[in-house]
């Protein structure tokens, strides 16, 4: 290990280790994250191991063993790591090696050697073997011995599970630099794109995977991310979508071949159906119709059928709306409104499905961007989001000492006070006493923070008043017969709002985001601003809630400086 601890010797990759699929990525010299294809050419490598006569099959090859060698095929084991037997849900493993309890951990009974003997292989050992294969693929691709990695984990992965994964990775010769949360990795993957602009955003990351769906609400403030809420669902999943297709095709098959048995009751038939349905689902994400074709589905009957996307959308309708309900629920849990959400990032294999993206787009207002392949052409492949994020993080931290990383991820550093209300300035409005609030620093921004704003001045210049205030976001609901209000949304693009006002159908109620001024913090004056000049406001808010504000005219000299005391006194008064 000592050699690996030397940061100079490190070759670090990002690993996204999922229940159904894993992927590996690295960052090129130009800082671009790339996903590595394994020897079979798969970028999404099924997290499956299969043993046949002592030979270990991995990934796609192992997956095809579901049909013939299901007993010796281990799948969906990630979530079992570091858990007790009582605490796991083994239902995804019904068609493969089933987990058993073994000395307070979980094991699988497989014939993993050439001998005809059933061995009990612990889940940690399986994980090690899986990671070893991933590592070999990366090493083979990069031509350099990979010895460390950043691994993504779901937000509800416990410390025990992380520790177990860390141990398994170490056994596989991988030094884990850091565990990062999957939703944050997805956000990072988008933010690391060269064209990405740094902005204050509320992002919902919906990871719709095979055996579980996770939704997280992330506040991105100047590139620092805070998870406001997370939801996990084990019912609304990709496997359920497969099941819908399985049922559909099984019924169609039975209609055609009345005498033949139900393929779902035959182990091999079911395995074949499953594999084919998954690929049909994938095909439907790309094309508008897909072919289903299985040789010898049951009783030696070959079966072929086609399905179009509309049919699929209908079949899966319930699940699609469940997906969007799940996402909305997460927003609610974070005590936010869909209007607050700037972006929805769809991750995971099922994010490819166009209907999922469109259902979610409909659930959110138009100001929200849904990042999925079917809605945004520039979207990153949803399956690759976590691994790209991990690869970027790996490249960022690979030259640090392990101790440094540990210190930086320590709660001492990560637990930070977050602003409870937005801080902004009051701009001109009809009502002189209140004015229109304009946020400079948004709520949920970690402190300390430094922000600058450039504000226009009255056309004729002269002396201006700058009022610093705290604002609370308020959702204003207007009933039909709209009267154009002078409301201002948080977004800087004014046209968005004006469009909203005009185009809204009068059937629906109009929901708008407005600001309520809570608490005026300070007043300051800049005198003698030139005609058409602008004022720059810089606000520094310290961790003790002290505010240090600097006001000056852009291009001008001097300026005004002011300090609002923070600390405990502020807490008391607030």
């Amino acid at each position: 290990m000592s050699a690996e601890n030397d940061p100079a010797q490190r070759v670090a990759i990002g690993i996204s280790f999922g229940n159904s699929y894993s992927s590996i990525g690295f960052t090129t010299g130009e800082g671009k994250a790339e996903v590595i294809a394994n020897e079979d050419g798969d970028r999404q490598i099924p997290s499956i191991l299969s043993y046949i006569e002592g030979e270990e099959l991995h990934g796609g090859q192992a997956k095809s063993q579901f049909v013939r060698n299901a007993k010796n095929t281990v799948a969906y084991f990630r979530d079992f790591l570091g858990k007790e037997f009582k605490a796991i849900d083994a239902s995804p493993c019904h068609e493969s090696a089933h987990p058993i309890e073994k000395d307070s951990t979980i094991a699988f009974k497989v014939k993993d050697t050439a001998e005809d003997k059933v061995n009990e292989v612990t889940v940690s050992e399986i994980t090690t073997r899986h990671l070893k294969r991933l590592r070999n693929s990366a090493t083979y691709y990069l031509g350099k011995e990979v010895n460390s990695a950043v691994i993504t984990v779901p937000t509800n992965f416990s410390d025990v599970q992380k520790e177990a994964l860390n141990k398994a990775a170490k056994e596989a010769g991988i030094e884990v630099l850091q565990f990062i949360n999957e939703p944050v990795a997805a956000v990072l993957a988008y933010d690391a794109r060269p064209e990405a602009k740094l902005a204050d955003k509320i992002i919902v990351v919906a990871d719709l995977g095979g055996t579980r769906s996770d939704v997280a609400v992330v506040a991105s403030r100047g590139g620092i991310y805070t998870i406001l809420a997370a939801l996990h669902d084990y019912e609304v999943t990709g496997l359920k979508l497969d099941q819908v297709l399985i049922d559909y095709f099984a019924k169609e098959f039975l209609k055609k071949h009345k005498s033949a048995g139900d393929p779902r009751e035959d182990a091999r038939g079911l395995a074949k159906l499953k594999l084919e349905c998954e690929s049909v689902k994938k095909a439907l994400s790309i094309g508008t119709s897909a072919n289903f074709s299985v040789e010898s589905l049951v009783g030696g009957i070959d079966y072929t059928a086609t399905i179009n996307r509309t049919r699929y959308d209908l079949l899966g309708g319930k699940l699609f709306s469940a997906f969007s309900r799940l996402v909305l629920h997460a927003v609610e849990k974070a005590q936010l409104d869909p209007l607050d959400v700037t972006e929805v990032i769809l991750a995971g294999g099922n994010a490819h499905t166009p209907k999922v993206a469109s259902t979610i787009t409909n659930a959110f207002p138009e100001t929200t961007t849904v990042l999925a392949p079917s809605t945004t052409p520039t979207a990153i492949n949803p399956s690759e989001l976590p691994v790209r994020g991990a690869a970027i993080q790996a490249s960022l931290i690979q030259e640090f000492e392990l101790g440094d990383i540990e210190q930086s991820t320590h709660p001492m550093v990560t637990v930070t006070p977050h602003l409870s209300h937005a801080v902004g300035v009051l701009c001109i409005s009809g009502d002189e006493s209140t004015g229109v609030f304009h946020a400079i620093v948004d709520a949920e921004t970690p402190l300390p923070v430094r922000r600058t704003a450039i504000i226009a001045t009255p056309r004729e210049g002269g002396d201006v008043l700058i009022k610093l205030a705290e604002g609370a976001r308020h959702i204003k609901i207007t009933k039909p017969e709209p009267k154009p209000k002078k409301e201002k949304a948080e977004d800087d693009e004014d046209d968005d709002d004006s469009d909203d006002d005009d185009s809204e159908e009068d059937e629906e109620e109009i929901r708008e985001k407005t600001w309520k001024i809570n608490n005026v913090l300070s007043e300051a004056a800049i005198r003698g601003v030139k005609k058409g000049g602008k004022v720059e406001v810089q606000i520094n808010i310290g961790a003790d809630l002290g505010v240090n504000a600097i006001y000056r005219e852009v291009g001008g000299k001097g300026g005004v400086r002011g300090i609002i005391a923070g600390g405990k006194a502020a807490n008391g008064s607030a």
Binding site: L228, I428, E523, I564
Partner: protein, 444 residues
């Protein structure tokens, strides 16, 4: 983070608004909520850096900027430009074969070690300095000869094949083997190490084993010499080829030159191989380690023989010693025996004398006892028989008994006592069966 742009204008300052330094604090921020931020992304790293080092934003910006400047300076420091030889600047581009490409690019310190990146950077730097446009702008002539030299040098050095051809004949990179006297001063490893390092650049097999030092193991040293005796070199001498004339001139001439070049290359290659061989031979001859290893090997071999010999010698010595010891003992024994014998003889003699004396005493005692005849002169027959009996007793007695009886007789005074002694003796002798009862009449 980019600054927020707000397009709505600020309100006009109400008349009569005043404050100290134009700033008036009014309220306080409402309390904050503690949350866990995700330790991910470049901005978090900046946050962690600030928090751990307790820096403010502006401090951190300044420190980072300094660090960046330093890094750039460090990068530059790696390649302080080498001074340019004014003669070199006068070079004509057309005799590029004669130029030292590394010198032209100012990377003579790296030579064959220069990486592609270094060459590229050196080229860029030189081009910036010597671009003809620049010269023209400075009002100089439109002399682009040296610029062409630079381009040619880069062309050669960035083409792996051409670079090898040039490196093969780059004499400036060669290290002359040290003379015998130089290595005598004890820096054999340093001087020869450099030679082999330079020669090693021609090796097809990398890495090339190092000469090592006096502590190197025998295996390493053997490896090293084996490597050099089986040296696999890529060195070629194409660079020194004579220019082949154009096709259209004379085909025969062309072929002739080509053949000549081929031969010259082959010859040079052979020479080079021989040169290297000699070089390794020389080094091997001077290498102290080889001698030491040979001595060690010999010592090892001799050791067993010597041990055997020593053992034999020891055995022989031991045997000789034992023999001597034995002889000595023998001699001592003999001497002792001799002495004993002499002693014995003497004692015998003495005993004999004593016996004679004792016998005389005994006989005298018989006489003193009046020949056992009671009172008065003893008749002759009595004397005779008494003397015969005494003699008979004496004859029956050995020396000790004679001495004993003598002692008794010496103590006995008076005829009866003497007679008693004799009678006792006779009795004893009869008891012992040496005499028959009544044999000695005079003493019965």
């Amino acid at each position: 983070m980019a600054s927020v742009q707000i397009n709505l204008p600020l309100p006009v300052l109400p008349a009569g608004w005043t404050a100290e330094k134009d700033f008036k604090p009014i309220g306080h921020l409402s309390h904050a909520t503690d949350r866990n931020i995700e330790p991910v992304g470049p901005h978090f790293l900046a946050h962690a850096r600030r928090k751990r080092h307790k820096r403010t934003f502006s401090e951190d910006d300044r420190i980072q900027a300094q660090a960046n400047v330093k890094k750039i300076e460090d990068d530059d420091e790696g390649e302080i430009s080498e001074p340019e030889d004014p003669l070199m600047l006068q070079r004509e581009a057309k005799d590029w074969k004669g130029q030292d490409h590394y010198a032209v690019l100012g990377i003579t310190r790296y030579r064959w070690r220069a990486t592609e990146d270094q060459i590229k950077r050196a080229h860029r730097k030189k081009v910036l300095k010597h671009h003809p446009d620049k010269k023209a702008a400075k009002g100089g002539t439109e002399d682009d000869q040296f610029f062409k030299c630079i381009q040619k040098a880069t062309e050669v050095l960035l083409d792996p094949v051409k670079r090898r051809q040039f490196d093969s004949v780059d004499e400036a990179a060669d290290v002359e083997p040290p003379s015998k006297s130089e290595t005598k001063k004890g820096n054999f490893y340093k001087l020869w190490g450099k030679v082999f390092e330079a020669e090693g650049r021609f090796s097809n097999k990398q890495p090339v084993p190092k000469l090592g030092n006096e502590k190197s193991s025998q295996e390493d040293v053997e490896n090293f010499y084996n490597f050099w005796y089986n040296f696999d070199s890529w060195r070629t001498f194409e660079y020194l080829d004579e220019d082949v004339p154009d096709d259209n001139e004379n085909r025969d001439q062309k072929r002739h030159v080509e053949r000549k070049n081929q031969n010259a290359r082959r010859k040079k290659k052979t020479e080079d191989t021989a040169r290297l061989r000699k070089l390794v031979d020389d080094c091997l001859a001077l290498d102290e380690r080889i001698k030491i290893f040979r001595q060690q090997a010999n010592a090892q071999k001799n050791k067993r023989r010597l041990e055997k010999e020593a053992e034999q010698k020891r055995l022989a010595e031991e045997a000789a010693m034992a023999k001597e010891e034995e002889a000595k003992l023998q001699a001592e024994k003999e001497a002792a025996e001799k002495a004993e014998r002499a002693e014995g003889k003497k004692a015998k003699e003495a005993a004999k004398n004593a016996a004679k004396k004792n016998k005389r005493v005994i006989r005298g005692a018989a006489k003193d006892a009046n020949y056992f005849h009671g009172a008065g002169d003893a008749p002759a027959a009595q004397i005779d028989s008494a003397l015969n009996d005494v003699d008979a007793i004496i004859a029956k007695l050995d020396n000790e008994e004679i001495a004993a009886i003598t002692a008794k007789l010496n103590g006995a005074k008076g005829t009866d006592a003497i007679k008693q002694v004799f009678q006792d003796e006779v009795k004893r002798l009869i008891g012992a069966g040496k005499l028959k009862d009544g044999e000695l009449k005079s003493l019965s």
